[in-house]
Symmetry: C2
Subunit: 222 residues, 2 copies
């Protein structure tokens, strides 16, 4: 039997780009490296941010904009570390956009920040279509999601600067084929940097910290 | 420090409901039980559908509508089992809607179907807002996603008939607190049925099969 495939037309996105450029200019003027963190729900965005805050906070002044459909559980965790944080609740919206990030920026002490994490809503689709004014796009893919995710959500893998491949501590209990995953991801995105890590055990995190620190310093020294 | 929370206004959804009612009527007339399967990417929608096909296919005539942003990898797996399947590629769209399902129905042999699975796009947010004409909503939540997901994506947990709690075989390697998860889910949705399962090992699947079989028979005998 031949599988019938129906393809639905895509909407054109508009005015968000302009707002994103304004955010970028505002952040550039202050030398703030801004990182848009995207992933499926539960892949480890907040874990990555919390681990990175603990490691880098002595060297860099960090702040966070947290995007969620509801609740402030993630922002509360960041707040416990004494880091400036704004929670954006999208009330059903499946991604952050540049206007929401602008509202977040208005509530942060921008003159005292070197590194801004924007934790997007957990979603592998729409966040990719909305520039926020970020310098770097980082997506997290976690082993339990399976090695076929780049086939099914190719745009996000194609457009990201970094893939953090999280939960490598679970490899012995899963069928995840890292070589197959890397092959598809680099096919979509030849320049991507892949960091296999476990936010839980700390495995592989040093390489991620080094990359990020170099990017923060590069932006500040510009 | 008090966490600043910004809440974004929500759009009102419109004409989809009418189309969904038309789909429902069409499916009701043929006594087809239609199940809308929703989850995060990689939680196990396709695994659940494939396991269920293998178990129930001798008793019920099954068909599948597969929703994905791109690719037909899931539909290909269903097709290998010799089950009628239509792949809907949303080309960036983050959910199925009733019009897409209508297109799928036009390509399926409705007179020969007792049970129709509609596998939604992997997303814990938007699919919940789009009725498709289904009889039952089933969402899958998997242990590696963490027990805090009901706080962050409450609408989907509140509106579903069933939560399949998948990947229980990974419990020894995770910090997932099932009691805490159940407490939040039943707080949002007192009538929900929760099936802890492992699609990989088969643990817990018998209860899910029994529930589904009873629903299929109930619809057919109406």
């Amino acid at each position: 039997m031949v599988v019938k495939v129906i393809t639905i037309g895509q909407k054109i996105l508009g005015a968000n780009e302009e707002k994103a450029r304004a955010n970028k200019k505002r952040l550039d003027e202050r030398g703030i490296l801004t990182v848009n963190i995207m992933s499926s729900p539960g892949a480890g965005k907040t874990s990555l941010i919390l681990s990175t805050i603990k490691h880098l906070r002595k060297k860099s002044r960090i702040a966070v904009i947290e995007g969620d459909v509801a609740s402030s559980v993630d922002a509360d965790k960041v707040n416990e570390l004494g880091i400036p944080v704004v929670q954006i609740n999208t009330a059903g919206g499946c991604h952050l956009d540049a206007a929401m990030v602008e509202m977040g920026l208005n509530d942060l002490p921008l003159e005292k920040i070197d590194l801004l994490f924007v934790e997007n809503v957990g979603n592998l689709i729409c966040p990719n279509n909305y520039a926020l004014g970020e310098d770097r796009r980082v997506m997290i893919s976690s082993l339990p999601e399976g090695d076929d995710k780049p086939y099914k959500y190719p745009a996000m893998f194609a457009d990201t600067d970094v893939v953090v491949l999280n939960k490598v501590d679970l490899q012995p209990y899963l069928d995840f084929n890292e070589a197959a995953f890397r092959k598809v991801v680099t096919g979509l995105n030849p320049d991507v940097i892949i960091f296999p890590v476990s936010c839980k055990t700390g495995e592989g995190m040093a390489a991620w910290f080094s990359w990020l620190e170099a990017a923060v310093n590069g932006k500040r020294d510009k």
